[in-house]
Amino acid sequence: MTQPALSAADDVVLRVQDLQVSARSDQGLIPLVEGLSFDLRRGETLAIAGESGSGKSITSLAVMGLLPAPAVRVTGGSIRLGGTELTRLPEKKLQSLRGARISMIFQEPMTALNPVMSIGRQLTEAIRAHDPVPMREARARALAALQAVRLSQPERRLEQFPHELSGGMRQRVMIAMAIALRPDVLIADEPTTALDVTVQREVLDLIRDLQRDLGTAVILITHDMGVVAEMADRVIVMKKGRVVETALTPELFEAPREAYTRELLAAVPRIGGGPARPDLPATPERLVSFQDVSVRFPIRAGLLGRVAARVHAVEHVSVEIFKGETLSLVGESGCGKSTMARALVGLVPHEGRIEVAGTALSELDSTGRKALRRDLQIVFQDPMAALDARMTVGELIREPLVIHGIGTPDAQRARVRDLLDRVGLPASAMGRYPHQFSGGQRQRICIARALALKPKLIVCDESVAALDVSIQARVLDLLRDLQREMGMSFLFISHDMAVVENVSDRVAVMYLGQIVEMGSRAQLFGNPQHPYTQRLLAAVPVPDPRRPREALARLAGEIPSPVWPLGQGPDRVQLQDIGGGHLVAR
Amino acid sequence: MKKLILSTALSAMMALSPALAETPVHGGNMIVTYKDDVATLDPAIGYDWQNWSMIKSVFDGLMDYEPGTTTLRPGLAESYEISEDGLSYTFKLRPGVKFHNGREMTAEDVVWSINRVVNPATQSPGQGFFAMIEGFDASSVDGSPLTGVSAPDAGTVVFKLSRPDATFLHVMALNFSYVVPKEAVEAAGADFGKQPVGTGAFKLAEWTLGQRLVFEKNADYWIPGVPYLDSFTVEVGQEPVVALLRAQNGEVDVPGDGIPPAKFTEVMGDPAQAANVVEGGQLHTGYITMNVTAAPFDKVEVRRAVNMAINKDRIIQVINGRAVPANQPLPPSMPGYTKDYAGYPYDVEGAKALLAEAGLADGFETEIYVMNTDPNPRIAQAIQQDLKAIGITANIRSLAQANVIEAGGAGQAPMIWSGGMAWIADFPDPSNFYGPILGCGGAVEGGWNWSKYCNAELDALAAKADSTVDPAKAEERLKLWSDTYMGVMEDAPWAPVFNEQRYTMKSPRMGGADALYVDPVSIPVNYDYVYIKE
């Protein structure tokens, strides 16, 4: 496909000048993006980095002409694609450019695809919207696009629906859709944030390869400086709608000019960069032990609804958590790590034995279970979902105290103020509702709530995954401080190796419901033995643009299914101590 | 032995209304509509407003009526003889009458048909009408043939009665005694009502359940020249208001349910439409029953007070003047009606005085049951207001027909407004208003005498009247009936309210005497004799 002549002199495909985007409100126009200018050249990757609220996503939507008008619109400046001024283009004309000359990949592959339309139809529709070719040809091109994004079994995928694909596959489909018409500009808005590390790695590799092959200019919107380092040629750092710094990537990482950039880079967790952990006592006191724990979910079928198969979410796991330590569970989505957490706090039934302070969960009566709640708390991944949106923060944090009948109402309120203070929120937060807070603040609210009962163990189920790096760092600091002061234990569940490396005393790696490797932080990160562990580590993006990027060897196929017919199950992995308590599956 | 032979001069039938100027025209199809579906055309079973006259057109009985009148005339019987003692009736059948299936009707068919109605297996609602026939008591229970009916030869049927009964000839004209062919009944079984075969002027040509019935002219009908129509179509399931709209639009010839109240003033106010309206009396009385076996209506003063409290003119105004005030059980057009009886006056003060006399000066609270279709609840409310004026608080219970009938039969209902459920006479004889609804026989658990009124003297009087069979003593007999009903009014188990007038509409193209459209016997239309003018 030939491009209309661009200004041949400088290869600029997209020129943004003094862009201003504003939201309409009762108080008049509120600027969301101000004075943004940049040029994007053919074949170049420009990263726009920044944290939530920096205006990076608004910028991408402004370029696409997808701002939620009339509330939010471009109020100044220009966006020129080749010779076309986009800001004043009527919707009809914009339509013909969108998807054809500029296209976009979104963060959430789970929701960005239409769940009731087959992949094939969504792809061909995108093609035919701009190029009214016959159905058969559109299909052939869709297939070619799927092959280009290296999706396995592309013919079959055409017939499938989004929910039948994994997150990584869906993101590949999104990319296929975006590049099917060979656009001049591809905007990737946090394309890998929602993906597992290994998949993230593959997708990033893919985008880079495609860019190289097609010469597309890419705008990469991300908060992850690791991704920036690996992908971008140039970086624009944004904060609160304004540009903080623009630089070539190596320069930015080596010599950041602005304080904010430095802060941002400092906040990025790096493997090997974690602070030293306080030593645990030589004979630690055991708080929790999993003994041969399995969790299986029945799948019913047939006339009488008999159990026909089971999802083996957790298989024969034995692990201990000691007082005052942080044990991390790592692994990718679906490996069973969250299920283990849920089994521990009693949200899913389990087989085997889970003991807390010497008492088996299964032997507790209802009073005992209620008492146990005081010792075990959980902080979920998505704070918005974990907080009842219809309650004020004060009520939410007070709730555990009310449930367990601790203190008078006045004492409870005082305690809520204390807790808010402890997690760094003002007392005035009590009267407000969760949606009025930012993601990081909400997670602090969740932590404050978990702390209310002074538990002995807090389960953090991907608790920092959704947070901006700087906030993530602060939350991790908070957890560390709490542990130091209160001596509590953490079961830290994460897929992010860098974060895990920062907080853990011991680490267990899970794969398909079983632990494949377990040991101290030093053992695991210093001497990873199991191939899966090695793979996880290799996939982590490193915020160092000069580190050689090796393409990750791709797995032969998808991760095997944990569903087994009744009476069958996966082979049981045997752990072997290779010295110093470093257990590895053989 | 007294012998009576009636002439069967067919010319007499043609001269049914000498005033009629036009000569009937043959041919055409008439469309009639009804709201309710036609349940059955089995003459032994059908007992509804809408199928009554259709059955009359498909079947015939030994006796018949002059069209548009209440005058008896022979039907399938050419002549009949009554024995001196009135206990034996001999009918000579008209020769050559054929069923729709082509077979000639014989005396055996008559005998078989009567036995069929009486047989309990048939479950005929008309069984009780035949109680005067000898052997009824046994046959009505075990289903054995009646000893009182026989066919000495193919053209003669002899009835023996266990008691003289002046209504017997009317019973022979009743749908239930119509003649059916044995082989067709046996072939159809219980479905005979949907596949009727008779001797009548029309035969059923098509029956689309829930939609329409088409009746075709029986070319072999035994009265030459009758019927005039080639066919008539009955469409069912039509809301009266809509049926009237269709009639106004010329799509329907006769809206069978008449003119709905909401349209009445509109129609009568428009001379062009009013010209198509036919008015006629009906053998109908609307009344309030009062349960005489329970306080407070066990006191005759109370019942009389109720009679005096009802403002009948107002009630008639509420139903748009479509009735005349009634002062006795019998309607004015019924023989035996007491013309010089003034009835209870509308006298609120007098009614209060009577209540006081009964020791109920402060009034009392009671219930009035009513069937829940318009205009009955409205009438009940008008009654309620009248009763309130004399201190009686009557709470209305507006229920489905079956529930009201049940409450009445069980004697649970202190008062019932009869509208919608009772009483259109089965046949034009004063006795028809007495037996089951005022006599002791009906005053039993489950009986239709909702007042539970039982006066042995009057029962005896009624029996005497019914055993007066000599036509020469007809006047005397009517006097006896008149006395009976006067006796009833003395005891006042009922408060008669009005006699409904029937207003019906017909399309301008329809011909035939108005009386045919408000035929007191062939309600609502006498299909056999109406015709289309063009």
Binding site: I378 | Q384, L399
Partner: protein, 312 residues
């Protein structure tokens, strides 16, 4: 601003007028809900209509120009037709010559009880069944939902007729019958919603805090069902008021001459051409009441939803 694009900046922690922390908590919720309700024009209009209806019902005895059951001699024409609205009978008369305005005022007593109490009871039963089945699942849940299916398949009018014939009719029987008949749809909808709510993280969070079932149900699930219940409740008002009329007609419940808005329409519906005021005035009144409840319900739904705050 009504756009909730996921990429729009977070509201963050802009300083704003904050309630006194001491006052924070559910204790202060009720008065502020009322205050905020009153600050909305449409809701105020709705409340005003409801107040008029309730006032009309309560003070009918003093407000009504005539006795609602009195059949006036001059209330009918000579031909027996009702009188159109005029100086004496403002809303005209009905088929028995009674004053329509007085009947509407008295009818409000019945209809409000039906619209609010019966409809409310149906909502309550439906919610109880739906929530129990959706939250507890298991055998009880399955059993309840099968029963709901059964009731859904059962002809409601037949039930009504039978109850009518069995019981002494009264307003409370109608209310009961309506509740028995109308809870089914609510139960279905509530069931679906509760099952999905029960899967949400914040309910899991509550469980891990040790909250009992009662607390989870009443403090967490129920508030989230409110929008649905408000919608079904307000939509149900007019349908139940009309259903009452059908039931009266079948002999359950209020018997003539006690007026209700529904039975005024039913008694007179064939007359809508000859005497349109007899159908359209009560029809408009029912509609207005339902609409008023809907306006208040909509406002209430927004007010109870904290995420909608500041968008009045």
């Amino acid at each position: 601003m009504s756009v909730a694009a996921p990429t729009s900046p977070e509201p963050g922690t802009q300083p704003g007028p904050q309630p006194d922390p001491q006052q924070a908590g559910p204790i202060s919720a009720a008065p502020s809900v009322l205050r905020r309700l009153l600050s909305r024009k449409l809701a105020l209009f709705g409340l005003f209509i409801i107040l008029i209806c309730v006032g009309g019902a309560v003070f009918a005895r003093w407000l009504a120009p005539f006795d609602p059951a009195e059949q006036f001699f001059d209330g009918l024409t000579i031909e027996g037709s009702p009188m159109p609205p005029g100086p004496v009978y403002w809303f005209g008369t009905d088929l028995l010559g009674r004053d329509l305005l007085s009947r509407l005022l008295y009818g409000a007593q019945t209809s409000l009880i039906i619209g609010i109490v019966a409809n409310g009871a149906a909502l309550l039963i439906g919610t109880l069944v739906g929530v129990t089945a959706g939250y507890f699942r298991g055998l009880i849940g399955a059993g309840l939902m099968r029963f709901t299916d059964l009731m859904m398949a059962f002809p409601a009018l037949l039930l009504a007729i039978c109850l009518a014939a069995i019981f002494q009719p009264s307003l409370w029987i109608v209310a009961m019958v309506i509740a028995c008949v109308n809870w089914v749809q609510t139960a279905r909808v509530v069931y679906t919603q509760t099952s999905s709510l029960a899967e949400r993280d914040f309910i899991a969070a509550e469980k891990t805090l040790g909250a009992g079932h009662g607390r989870i149900l009443f403090r967490h699930i129920l508030p989230h069902l409110m929008p649905t219940l408000i919608v079904w409740g307000t939509l149900g008002i007019s349908t139940t008021v009309l259903l009452e009329a059908t039931l009266s007609f079948l002999g359950v419940g209020v018997q003539p001459p006690t007026p209700s808005w529904g039975n005024i329409i039913f008694e007179n519906q064939t007359w809508f051409q000859a005497a349109p005021w007899l159908v359209f005035i009560p029809g408009a009144v029912i509609l207005l009441l339902a609409l008023a409840f809907n306006l208040v319900g909509d406002a209430l739904r927004d007010i109870l939803d904290p995420t909608q705050q500041g968008r009045d």
